[in-house]
């Protein structure tokens, strides 16, 4: 099939449109500015809505409105902007509205820098805003996967009526790679709960406010059961060169791709390393990682942060003395040689 050259931002935007997304609202922030630019042309072309909002806060609330009206809706931003969206994401989760949020992660905290980072792992996988909720979080490692996972995100969001976060970074946002495009969605799911005007039915309401004692607790348990279902059904991961490995590297996104190169070089030097790559960061593929970890004595976790997925690896593997960490926070991107050095060191 014919491939086209796209940046990560363009691939995600195109994937969204082909998945039936008809509403995008965003606000400029580096390194994802190509996203709203691309959408500003493509959305009207495909019959959808593009709005450059006055803030990230407003953008996510526009997405809330579009989702409430039954549209497949999305926004994109980068770390500081994603912080601003957390209020809206919490409301989406509380109101059980589907939406897709793309985070092209940059260095933080605060204004940080504009270089690639994985520092928003906790924010994405632990809920991020206020309240007891989870967001499905998918982490691609190539532009093709940015495209594929954006497409998938809309299906998961609708299936579970829950926000889905695509967690990429500044590298994947701007990198150009060939992408094979899927055909556009033909049939989108019916949404009986949506606000479309009450013609021929009882009025619908969308809310996360439950003042009667006990009702919110019941609602939260209902959400918890949903998160449990997601946890059981939607874990995605990949393993590479694990059949004969002596040690395991665990890494996600851009960092996993660099780690894979380090492993390839290690193999040339007869160091038998394998790679475990979580693609769904929440739900985290704990059981699969635990099984894989049983094959080796030592595990190296590599991330572009100070050690966040590390916590999930520790929870999955349980034996902390076998787990080693190499991290580059603040927009630092490791070279394969750096990771190779760590592989040799442990």
């Amino acid at each position: 099939m014919k491939k086209v050259i796209l940046s990560g931002c363009e691939a995600s935007a195109e994937g969204a449109i082909r998945a039936g997304c008809s509403f995008y609202a965003g606000y400029p922030i580096t390194p994802q500015n190509r996203f709203p630019e691309y959408m500003s042309d493509r959305m009207p072309e495909s019959g959808g809505v593009f709005i450059q909002a006055e803030s990230e806060v407003s953008a996510i609330n526009m997405v809330f409105g579009a989702a409430a009206a039954g549209a497949r809706a999305m926004t994109s931003s980068s770390s500081p902007g994603i912080s601003l969206k957390q209020e809206g994401i919490s409301y989406l989760a509380g109101c059980e509205l589907p939406a897709v949020i793309v985070n092209m992660n940059r260095g933080g905290p605060g204004l940080g820098d504009v270089t690639p980072s994985q520092s928003d792992y906790f924010q994405s996988t632990r809920g991020g805003g206020h309240g007891d909720y989870r967001t499905i979080t998918l982490a691609p490692w190539s532009v093709q996967e940015v495209y594929d996972l954006t497409y998938l995100s809309f299906d998961l969001a609708d299936k579970y009526r829950n926000p889905v976060i695509l967690l990429a970074d500044g590298m994947l946002a701007q990198m150009l790679e060939p992408v094979e495009l899927l055909a556009g969605k033909k049939r989108l799911p019916k949404k009986k709960w949506a606000l479309t005007g009450c013609k021929g039915r009882m009025p619908n309401s969308i809310k996360s406010l439950f003042l009667t004692p006990g009702v919110l607790e019941t609602h939260n348990w209902k959400l918890a059961r949903k998160y449990h279902r997601i946890s059981e059904r939607e874990q995605i991961y990949n393993t590479y060169l694990c059949a004969d490995m002596d040690m395991l590297v665990v890494s996600f996104g851009t960092c996993a791709r660099i780690a894979f190169e380090a492993i390839r070089i290690a193999r040339e030097k007869n160091i038998k390393a394998g790679l475990f790559r979580p693609v769904s960061l929440w739900p985290f593929p704990s059981e699969a990682l635990k099984n894989m970890a049983e094959k080796v004595r030592k595990i190296l976790v590599v991330e572009m942060n100070c050690g966040q997925m590390l916590d999930d690896v520790k929870i999955a593997v349980k034996n902390n003395s076998r787990i080693f960490f190499y991290g580059r926070p603040g927009g630092g991107v490791p070279t394969p040689e750096e990771i190779l050095k760590e592989i040799k060191r442990i």
């Binding site: 509403f23 479309t196 309401s205």
Partner: protein, 252 residues
Amino acid sequence: MKKNVEYLYKKPESLTDETTIYCAGCGHGIIHRIMAEVIDELGIREKTIGIAPVGCAVLAYDYFNFDVTEAAHGRPPAVATGIKRSLPDRIVFTYQGDGDLAAIGTAEIIHAAARGENITVIFVNNGTYGMTKGQMAPTTLPGQRTTTTTKGRNTAVHGFPIRVCELLSTIDGTVYLERTKIDSVPDVIKTKRAIKKAFTYQMENKGFSLVEVLSNCPTNWKMPPSQSFEWIRTKMAEFFPPGVYKDAGAGK
């Protein structure tokens, strides 16, 4: 039951049977009712989508008999934008208080107006945060006592109130802006007329309308309802003069 009965006065279909949480003498009930009457009269109940604010009117989805969503504090104009742009042939309104619209949601209302969103905004200005028990609002009058201005609003310390209709009238994206009050029957009728015009303009795709209603909060103003209406008439209307601030819709 008698056949062919013609009702002169009955509960609008656009209101549910739910008992409201509003305090005795509160203006929200009056405003809900005239909105419901307007929506019935225009025959748009089945294609209306409302956005409830955070504040006393947060439970509006229980009182209105059509589709309603909640919104985060101050965000109804953004939520309305998302709904209206997705379903352009539906009638979309926000119902917002002064804290919601003129404090935490100032950016949202100004930019929805600037984009000329084809929505209707019902802005209830009662000069206080009612739900949280009476703190200073962006529209609290100079000298007015609240729980965060116990000696009265001192403009040197607490700043000045915001006149929303005047502010929005400078924005090209707005079509219709009127300030009314509900302290007397003629004024309630005038308010209903303004609300009807705002919805009619939306039906005619004319653009952004806002009706600011000077309302009361007897509980937090700590005065009987009758006195609270007197306060609207004498104090509020003096600082926030009622009137049409913009009407670019006529003949458009």
